[in-house]
Symmetry: C2
Subunit: 490 residues, 2 copies
């Protein structure tokens, strides 16, 4: 019997001649069953009279399936396969206010953004993947289905998501299976290097008409992509980049879109919607996590904990500005400032997205096209990932945070204070100082480490009792102090 | 006849033996008259059976005076003097949303803070004055009447503002004339080097009881200091540093204090009250200008224009944090960050106060004790003063400010855009760019200069028509661009 590893992909194809109506509208689904559990997966038309049915099993054992379709050639097929145990971690899930893979392995979705990397030539895509592979601090990438038309993004893609071309126009009723094959290949290659694909379904930076399709075409598109990508473990759904720049799409539009994805995507991938200005109502139950663009020029990641509290959901800060030197204020930050924002986000319980926008003679800016990383911040993302892996997901500890030094951690166990642009020569963390009462730590002994977040060095300061927690610091910016409570010494 | 230069000080002394009641409560005033204008000045007891009467004339010509007192020895004296023209600029006044001396000369009150410099030994006071003299960017200094008890401030002053000593206690009914002579000497020396003395009348950092005197003692103290200092041109009244840290003083207390100062101080010196957390109601008519401590760790000077708009008064940002390395978050900023805040304040129409808090082996921190300046920001205050003098007072130009680059200036004439921590390689300022509409400048030609606020260099980029205003920048932080409109070329 066919063997499919857990979180691997089962795929079966079916031929059907004489397609009169739009084959992309053909109702075609299958019920997959293991023991008493039944899951509906949707098939899709892949061009050339071929339909495909895919399924990603999430538990080992014997699975059977049966197909249903209005098209006789697709109806009434059945079969089975064995799902075997595997090392695949599975789909990303929310766990409390953090993330983990389906198998329980923690996932720290520090990420990056290459909006249109899929739409670049293959040689550039290979570079992008190589860069990602060499940057373990990037565990998620924001990327668009539709190509991007904007500053530094004037090149046409080689292949489009719909039939047609810019000269003669596009037929939005006809998704282009060849494009989706390319997209899936990109997602699969990301999966091989452990990167989650945060798939942006709509965005406004358009000159082809993809952002202004009618409701029927939008729905067909969403059903189609969900049917294809539900079987990929490393997919996240981002309904939009800057949903509010698409004013013709109403709240009801987005709610309908989410409903379609929920209906078709049996894998229940994470789902969110990203803002330009005001947030979409992140309280909506289909929103698994907050996907946030900063709200202010000066306070960017500093609100992370408030947002997490407000929505009681984990947060990825998917746009806190980019390291670079372009004319846009969001795209000319120093690496220091970008990394500062990432740490502010981290100690406040969230996960920050990187981006890079250095001017380039051929307009190859990482933020959109990928390629080679030129900046100083990616290696700091790697370092922050190391800290995440050592610490586990940390929460903002409001009661313990003095006003100028946010403190994140795990209550009673671990505390990380981040000084940001402040650069004290020393700091009292014990409870005898009259003005620092709120920063007091629980009694006991602590392993004290100074983390130089910029120079990526950890200095062990030994074990100290709480009453001795006067920490000497190097009077440089971007330092953190980590206190690991040693309960056995209490 | 006696000649007194305009804004100089007339002083007459009177002896009175057999003082039975508290001589500091003696009613003693004089009416000074020139032509039909009458001004009441209050005399004061200066110890050793001596009373003094002072007056600062504000216009040249013949002045006469007549004294009135419950004490016969002080009553019924009269005299006259000639006020001569002088180069003195006179008392600082509000002019629109900015400041000018009484003679119309603009005053840009960029300043600094040495809270307790008056209470330090003479050698240190001399150093402080020398440092101020060499820093023309400091045109105002915040300084307390009462000594300061706080971190790094554990030394007793040589002389106290009231009779008594820490061991035996103080008699708050008896101001100490010798202390006031010292204070006046300090103020006069500041005047000689063109520095305004922002006199802080109350503050909470106290171990002597001066912050918790009763209402009668507070009122006597205020009448006394106002009677003495009304005749000094370079005095500003700051009712409090952090008024809200003195919770026993109610709003009515502060209103009463202001009323007393208004009654006694015929020179109508500028008056304000400085906060720790929430502002005092700066709409009150006796408040001439907003004296502000930052409200947030991250946004400090960025609200300047909002405050100016809210109260329709000029603003001095008297506490935006200090360059230094102490444990307090407000006192361990880099020079870069402090100067950035000063520029944010400037282009938003306000005037920022400097401060320095580097740890010192003898606890001589400029912010409180004065002495020698160790930091990198004072010379940038000098540079900013040069820009002020070249530009005149500028206002925040809200309609012309793109979201990431505040622009201040004089509508139709001068525009200064400040990039802060952003560091673009170029920026469009013309009106053809679709996304920068709000930053458009009026049509015409402009002299374009790049101001490197950190390296203190101005680069002339020549004259350009508005349509050509694509400005190339060095992709470094802390740059500003100044556009001076050349109307003759329109």
């Amino acid at each position: 019997m066919t063997e499919i590893p857990c979180y691997g992909r089962f795929e079966q194809q079916f031929q059907s001649e004489n397609l009169s109506a739009n084959p992309f509208d053909t109702a075609f689904k299958a019920i997959f069953q293991k023991d008493n559990r039944k899951i509906t997966a949707h098939g899709f038309y892949d061009g050339d009279n071929t339909f495909k049915l895919r399924f990603m099993p999430d538990s080992p054992g014997e699975w059977t399936y049966q197909t249903f379709s209005e098209l006789p050639a697709l109806n009434g097929h059945s079969g089975s396969f064995t799902c075997t145990k595997s090392d695949n971690h599975g789909v990303a899930r929310v766990r409390g206010r953090h993330f983990a893979y389906a198998d329980g392995t923690p996932l720290y979705p520090l990420g990056t953004t290459c909006y249109a990397w899929v739409h670049q030539p293959e040689s550039l895509r290979r570079q992008t993947l190589e860069s990602l592979k060499n940057t373990p601090g990037f565990k998620k990438i924001r990327m668009c289905v539709f190509p991007k038309h904007y500053d530094f993004n004037q090149n046409e893609p080689e292949i489009y998501p719909f039939s047609g071309n810019p000269k003669n126009g596009f037929d939005f009723t006809q998704p282009n299976p060849k494009f989706y094959a390319l997209l899936e290949n990109c997602i699969a290659e990301l999966g091989e290097i452990g990167v989650e694909a945060d798939i942006i379904l709509f965005h406004a930076y358009d000159c082809w008409g993809f952002s202004t399709m009618d409701e029927d075409d939008n729905h067909r598109y969403l059903r189609y992509i969900a049917a294809r990508l539900a079987a990929f473990p490393n997919v996240w759904w981002s309904l939009a980049n800057e949903y509010d720049l698409l004013p013709h799409l109403t709240e009801q539009s987005w709610e309908n879109f989410a409903k379609i994805l929920q209906e078709v995507d049996y894998s229940e991938h994470l789902m969110s919607i990203h803002n330009c200005r005001g947030f979409y109502n992140h309280s909506r139950p289909w929103i698994s996590h907050c996907s946030i663009q900063r709200q202010d020029v000066y306070k960017t990641a500093e609100h992370t904990n408030e947002w997490i509290d407000q929505y009681n959901k984990p947060a990825t800060l998917d746009e806190i500005g980019y390291e670079g030197d372009i004319h846009w204020g969001w795209g000319n930050l120093t690496a220091e400032e970008l990394v500062r924002r990432a740490w502010e986000c981290f100690v406040r319980g969230g996960y920050a997205g990187h981006g890079e926008t250095y001017t380039h003679p051929n307009d190859i800016l990482w933020w959109s096209k990928g390629g080679i990383l030129h900046g100083e911040s990616p290696k700091r993302w790697n370092f922050l990932m190391q800290i995440c892996e050592e610490s586990g997901g940390i929460d903002y500890l409001a009661e313990r945070s003095p006003w100028d030094v946010p403190v994140g951690g795990i209550e009673g166990k671990l505390y990380i204070a981040y000084f940001g642009f402040n650069r004290p020569k020393y700091r009292h963390f014990h409870n005898e100082h009259p003005y620092l009462g709120k920063s007091n730590l629980p009694e006991g002994s602590y392993k004290v480490e100074i983390i130089d977040t910029w120079n990526m060095k950890i200095t062990d300061c030994g074990v100290k009792r709480r009453e001795e927690l006067l920490v000497e610091l190097p009077a440089r910016q971007y330092m953190a102090v980590r206190f690991t409570r040693l309960t056995e010494l209490n």
